[in-house]
């Protein structure tokens, strides 16, 4: 049971990491980064490191996504577009 969950989380990590790199819309990439951090914290919890899981959920999924979105609001939303 835990092996199936572990495999699903790892596949989700790969897919969301691919989305971060390939998305032309930087807002979608930031949201994908939030999903990646959340799945990574889930993986840390499965591997029995709850301390790191709480830190990853707080910093990665919460704060870093907000910082990226604020930075996108200050610059451009689409990759490769110059104002």
């Amino acid at each position: 049971m835990i092996d199936i969950l572990n495999g699903l989380v790892l596949i989700g990590l790969l897919v969301s990491a691919l989305f971060i790199v390939r998305c032309r819309d930087l807002l979608s990439a930031a949201i994908s980064f939030g999903i990646f951090s959340f799945l990574l914290s889930l993986e840390f919890y499965i591997l029995q490191a709850p301390d790191v899981a709480i830190a990853e959920a707080g910093i990665g999924a919460g704060l870093t996504t907000a910082i990226f979105i604020v930075a996108i609001r200050g610059t451009t939303r689409w990759e490769g577009v110059r104002e």
Partner: protein, 155 residues
């Protein structure tokens, strides 16, 4: 530029729960998984939710940058002073001068599995609180600074 009324109401409902959970993680750092850094990050996430929901002006009317940086400096100073008191008492730097002393946070603990007592672990709860205040102030003020930069360009 604040968000819709639904987002603002949801942020107001969620904020007390996030704050209580973060404070629980900070103060139970020596008994359960977590600690100062993690709890401070959770509380800072609550503040960031508030900053995302409301406009920059209504945030800075109640929450100034100087109070957040003051909290950060206070946390770091409390951390260093707690560590340096051990030098004055004849121990080493970062020595645990409160553990097993019978004073506050000084109840001795037996080896093995036990339900845990909040009044244990010596200087570790004090350092957890100090690091929690420091991380909360630091991470919140980073986002507040970035919002101030974006705010000037957009408005």
């Amino acid at each position: 530029m604040s968000m819709s009324k639904i987002v603002r109401a949801a942020a107001c409902v969620l904020l007390p729960f996030i704050l209580v959970f973060g404070f629980y993680i900070v103060m139970h750092g020596h008994l359960t998984p977590g600690g100062g850094f993690q709890g401070g990050a959770v509380i800072a996430t609550g503040f960031v939710l508030l900053m995302a929901a409301f406009s920059y002006d209504s945030i800075t009317a109640r929450l100034s940058k100087s109070s957040l940086t003051g909290g950060e400096t206070l946390g770091l100073l409390l951390f260093i002073v707690t560590a340096a008191v051990a030098l004055g008492l004849g121990g080493t730097f970062f020595g645990n001068w409160l553990a097993n002393s019978g004073a506050i946070f000084g109840t001795p603990v037996a080896f093995g599995a036990n339900p845990g007592n909040l009044n244990t672990a010596g200087v570790i709860p004090i350092m957890n609180l100090a690091v929690g205040i420091e991380v909360l102030g630091g991470l919140s003020v980073i986002l507040l600074y970035m919002l101030s930069g974006v705010h000037e360009e957009v408005a």
